[in-house]
Subunit: 362 residues, 2 copies
């Protein structure tokens, strides 16, 4: 770990990542070279002085072709996502915490407790080491916050003009506690539909910085790990049928997916859907419908009616669920379709996102 300044605070748990300071220049280089992806000496220094220094744990120490993990018998969730968001640093987050939180959330939406994460980097030649370090540091913090451990990884470098600073792919595994069955096909007529907070924050935060827009109130991405919120609601109810985080395609797309997979109808009230006023104004200015804009720290839960109040209270009791709301319910009518009652009382079918309104939002 020579070259990277590190300090372990006295109350840090054994084996936790220690404070990480970016080693700029990294072996005399301020920027990523093709040779950092060669597999040779520069790759080894990059791994040792940046990735291993920031994520430090016994699994990574081994430097094997993979991590060796002692797993318990049971049902495990396994998920992967690539992240290509532009810019890589935006209000409220970076491509790095997005990549950690995104896979943590996919696991949590399966009802799993996130355990182990892999992280694979595709870097563009010329990327500044300091930018890479800022992203890596945000990943270190995000992993600590959700309790997941980054145990293995990879780094490739592509020539200038064949990438865009950096892309990150994370994969994760997490164990599903016995008795938990979350399945997108199991929404039932009568289920109440809950959303854990305001929608469209992430997409608008990224879009506004990309377009150079400034609003009176700063709009920040909602990127956050949802595993403790999921755990909190699963603790108070055994009638949670479906969980999903409405990322790309937004809330409307997620609702349509579940309506189709469970083959039930959904009825939602537009006026019940929480939207931050600053985000609502930004959406008007930019011409976006918040229902189709990505979220990165929100969940939708389908809950048996008898437990809806209890789950709503548990959500609101969590820092990430303070603005949770019941936004509608499952019906036996119009299967596979989502019907929305607009704020002024009319009803219409709410479709899935078609086309693309916000490329490279995650």
């Amino acid at each position: 770990m020579e070259g990277a300044a590190m300090k372990r605070s006295p109350d840090a748990p054994a084996n936790a990542p220690v404070d990480f300071t970016c080693p700029v220049p990294l072996s005399n280089y301020e920027r990523i070279l093709l040779a950092h992806g060669s597999g040779g000496t520069l790759t080894h220094r990059l791994i040792r002085e940046v990735f291993a220094a920031a994520f430090r744990n016994d699994y990574l120490e081994l430097q094997h072709d993979g991590a060796i993990l002692p797993l318990d018998k049971g049902l495990w969730a396994f998920s992967t996502d690539s992240y290509v968001v532009r810019p890589i640093i935006f209000p409220g987050g970076t491509i790095g915490d997005l990549a950690v939180n995104g896979t943590v959330n996919d696991l949590a939406m399966c009802g799993a407790k996130p355990r182990y994460l892999s992280a694979s980097f595709i870097l563009e030649e010329g990327l500044e080491i300091s930018e890479l370090c800022a992203v890596v540091e945000s990943m270190r913090r995000a992993a600590l916050a959700s309790g997941i451990t980054i145990v293995t990884g990879d780094t490739k470098v592509v020539d200038r003009g064949k990438g865009d600073k950096m892309f990150i792919t994370t994969s994760g595994i997490g164990i599903i506690p016995e008795g938990i069955v979350i399945d997108p096909r199991s929404a039932k007529p009568g289920d109440q539909i809950l959303v854990s907070g305001t929608i469209a924050d992430h997409g608008i935060a990224v879009m506004s910085v990309r377009e150079g827009l400034e609003f009176e109130t700063a709009i920040r991405s909602d990127t956050a790990p949802l595993n403790s919120l999921a755990e909190q609601i699963l603790n108070v109810s055994s009638n949670i049928h479906v969980l999903r985080d409405p990322t790309r395609g937004g809330l409307a797309t997620t609702l349509n997916e579940i309506a189709q997979q469970s083959n039930i109808g959904l009825f939602v009230r537009e006026s019940s859907i929480p939207v931050d006023p600053a985000v609502a104004s930004a959406c008007e200015i930019l011409g976006f419908d918040p229902l189709f804009v990505a979220n990165e720290g929100k969940m939708v839960a389908f809950v048996g009616a008898e437990d809806a109040d209890r789950v709503l209270a548990a959500m609101r009791n969590h820092p990430l669920g303070q603005h949770a709301a019941v936004i509608g319910e499952v019906t036996a009518e119009h299967p596979a379709e989502v019907v929305m009652e607009s704020s002024i009382g009319g009803k219409r079918i709410l479709g899935m996102l078609s086309g693309e309104q916000l490329p490279r939002i995650c």
Copy 2:
């Protein structure tokens, strides 16, 4: 699965991927659009008609945020790699079978039996659907050949000029049978060093097509799954201490890594290292040292001397190990260094790859 022609052969095992025919045009499009990465309707069609149609299995059918896997208690290997090889189709393989075999091999080098794979795609706007399908089909075949199941995935699209046709990241998990301990830190003085076949085939195959070179004998990539070869040698010996596949950086870099991690010296004889004559000539013409050129279907094994003959015989008995050879041994002298006796008898220290000779080889 509408739109994709599929046929299950009568003797296919239940739940095996069925024959896959590329749906070109895909919903009227011959090429990938940004909207194929939106998360909306075009993403759903791409997943349904290409990825799910080719990889079809019960885990993918669920369309959850992740796959739900019943795992046994024990030690599991977990590995990930990103693939950025250029061109995406080359003599002997594609970026797709490289991505499947590469992670299968990393698991096998941990002594694990590969079980489940994730595949995440970063596509460049404008990629031809037919090229994507050719890669996906090669992944389907590679997964079948190694027995790993592709259970979850993701697709992102980046704007034209911000990627290079396609990048793929795979992650995999595999179970390590009880009693198997493969560890890069456990090479011991006296161990014999075996290589499973000719070196440098992959790097030279990619390089020659990239440079438009033609040789009398066609040079093909050696991309192949090493799990059954690893299993075969682990069945005949309990004295296999280290396994590793010498990919980026080539055999020389791999040997240096193990010398450093085990803190022992290595002595290798250049004349014992198998190199295909066509590859050797191509290396001379291109100015490459085959010791530093990537392999994608070869392994290095460090074996207790008493079992070396038996392991060598087992290797040669496998279709992927016919040209296996003992190339040297571990010594207590010059720890962390690799000493090579050249074909004409001189000795020199063999270093790790420094700089970059073959960018984007995998």
